[in-house]
């Protein structure tokens, strides 16, 4: 019983990490309707920025971390003018192809600048696990999970209550309507990439606490995809339940199925959950359904 709870809890925390990374994906998708295949690379770039400003430059941990977040935001903001501005009016397909180009480009840049070697990652949070009786939890992931829940609430309120957030929601609804209301679609998309980059960097911090960083960290981007799809691509709040569902399922699969089948079946489990749920509800659990009136 204790074991079941531990598997489920650790799974939920991992799921919330996916949710945080998926949040970057969703913010970008909402504004641009672009399915960002480079999400994992954004996490890697964020991770290297943190490493660079803290361990490499030797700045105090939190100063370096703050600078890394600023650097991440700037990096995100220039993606739109650099890569997408000329594609205005082009098909979504060509924009998605650009994100694949971005993936290759960033991977190349990371390898050229930082090399393929493994780097230590700074611990912004203590690496000592949290224990409740017999249950042990990863402290980085636990703090990250709580942070992600609060952040999801904050970002949802931002999109629904504040003016700049509402502008971005209008852009998410329809680019032509947004323009006819005096909203700059391009600027909103640029902001979305900036936000997506900051969220990815935060994800890197919780994910890599106590670990090290290489370009392979990018795989977390694909692991987070089922959570984004399950939440419904437009829904920030929906990422929390979606993350928990996927994470718990994966945690339980790792605990009970993997030992039996003798492999890491749990790694494909999120995709399985995603396929089943999307089969039942194509717009995800909380996504924008096409409005149909009778």
């Amino acid at each position: 019983m204790i074991q079941l709870i531990e598997y489920a809890l650790n799974g939920a925390l991992l799921g919330l990490l996916y949710a945080l990374i998926a949040m970057g994906f969703v913010v970008i998708y909402r504004a641009s309707k672009v399915f960002n295949f480079a999400q994992g690379e954004l996490v890697v770039v964020g991770a290297f920025l943190v490493w660079f400003f803290t361990l490499d430059l030797g700045l105090p941990l939190y100063v370096g971390f703050a600078l890394a977040l600023i650097g991440a935001a700037i990096f995100g903001l220039i993606i739109e003018p650099l890569l997408f501005r000329r594609l205005v009016g082009q098909s979504t397909f060509s924009m998605v192809m650009v994100t694949i180009g971005l993936l290759i480009l960033l991977r190349g840049l990371v390898l050229v600048i930082f090399g393929p070697s493994v780097r230590p990652f700074p611990d912004l949070i203590s690496t000592a696990p949290i224990t409740f009786g017999d249950i042990t939890l990863n402290r980085g992931l636990a703090y990250g999970g709580i942070f992600t829940i609060l952040l999801a609430i904050g970002v949802s309120l931002y999109f629904s209550r504040t003016r700049p957030g509402l502008r971005m929601t209008v852009v998410a609804e329809d680019h032509q309507i947004a323009q006819s209301m005096g909203i700059s679609v391009r600027r909103s998309i640029a902001y979305a990439w900036g936000m997506g980059m900051v969220l990815s960097t935060l994800g890197a911090v919780f994910y890599l606490n106590g670990k090290s960083v290489t370009f392979l960290v990018a795989e977390i981007g694909f692991a987070a995809l089922p959570v984004a799809l399950l939440a419904g691509l437009e829904s920030v709040g929906g990422l929390i339940p979606a993350g928990i569902i996927v994470g718990v399922a994966q945690g339980l699969a790792a605990g009970y199925i993997d030992p039996v089948v003798g492999g890491s079946f749990s790694a494909v489990f999120p995709y399985l959950v995603m396929v089943i749920i999307l089969f039942l509800r194509p717009s995800g659990l909380f996504g924008w359904r096409i409005v149909e009136r009778v």
Partner: protein, 296 residues
């Protein structure tokens, strides 16, 4: 927005042009100092499809102009050329000029013309489907200072009490008439100098059409100019001071609303009204002969 029943001083229009019979050569448009002026505007889509073939339209300050004409005449395109929405559809003002308050605006993007005070209520009731009524409106006032936006919201609810009752509803699920009110209200939130409304009555029941038009009549007391595109020509000409009839990308006729209302040929041909006022189908009318007579 200074509402006030009957407080419309010197309704800029009509004095000069009233009584003049409609004619094909531009009669110089409505009088009054022009807020919006289209001169010899040509519009091309995708670089090859010429849709507007040189049109001249004047909208005076605080005036109300109706654009009429059959389907495909280029009415919506005219509005898009002014608001800049054209550019999101691969359209281009390929010749001529659009001037607003004396300045050229034909090269401006849609998001820029809004800042000048031009609000285009597009065809098809384009609500922000997944947002609530109130979010639609608040987003509409995003360029205002927040105190002004609050005031605008109250005024908008005063105009559309029905929207106030529905403020928490997801706008995609409103009825067609409610959605039409919402898009007009959303445009109003930006406190426009010029509001252009494309086919507000499309697909609405007569009672709802009446309700919408009575609100438009009230709007005329505000400090703004209106351009209205309508198939319901009787309602449009009752609202407007001046009308232009477009056909096939050209203005074939213009004149005061009064003169258009009473002109037999127009009633029969363009407005589809017989002498007794009942509607006729366009099919009943010998299109080419009649047009020739006008153009000749």
């Amino acid at each position: 927005m200074v509402a006030g029943p009957g407080a419309r001083p010197g309704g800029a229009l009509t004095e000069g042009a009233s009584g003049s019979a409609p004619s094909t050569e531009s009669s110089g448009g409505p009088g009054g100092s022009p807020l919006l002026e289209l001169s010899n505007v040509e519009v091309t889509y995708s670089g090859v499809i010429l849709v507007l073939k040189g049109i001249n339209i004047i909208v005076p300050e605080r005036g109300c102009v109706a654009l009429l004409g059959p389907n495909g005449a280029g009415k919506s395109t005219t509005l898009k050329a002014v608001s800049g929405v054209l550019k999101t559809e691969e359209g281009l003002v390929s010749a001529g000029q659009v001037r607003f308050a004396g300045e050229r605006i034909d090269t401006l993007a849609a998001e820029r013309t809004v800042r000048r005070g031009i609000l285009h209520v597009m065809e098809g009731r384009k609500v922000l489907e997944h947002m609530t009524v109130e979010q639609n409106l608040v987003a509409g006032g995003h360029l205002q200072r927040s105190r002004d936006a609050k005031e605008s919201l109250e005024l908008t609810y005063e105009y559309f009490p029905r929207l106030a009752d529905l403020r928490g509803r997801t706008s995609g699920y409103l009825s067609g008439g409610e959605q039409q009110m919402l898009v007009i209200g959303r445009a109003l939130m930006a406190r426009p100098k010029l509001m252009m409304i494309d086919e507000p009555s499309l697909g609405l029941a007569p009672l709802m059409v009446e309700e919408i038009f009575s609100i438009l009549h009230r709007l005329r007391q505000e400090d703004l100019a209106l351009v209205i595109v309508e198939q319901n020509t009787a309602a449009a000409l009752a609202l407007a001071d001046y009308g232009y009839v477009l056909d096939n990308g050209r203005i074939v006729l213009d004149g005061t609303a009064e003169s258009l209302r009473s002109n037999e040929d127009i009633r029969e041909f363009y407005l589809g009204l017989g002498a007794t006022g009942e509607r006729k189908s366009f099919r009943d009318i010998k299109h080419y002969r009649r047009r020739k007579r006008w153009l000749g």
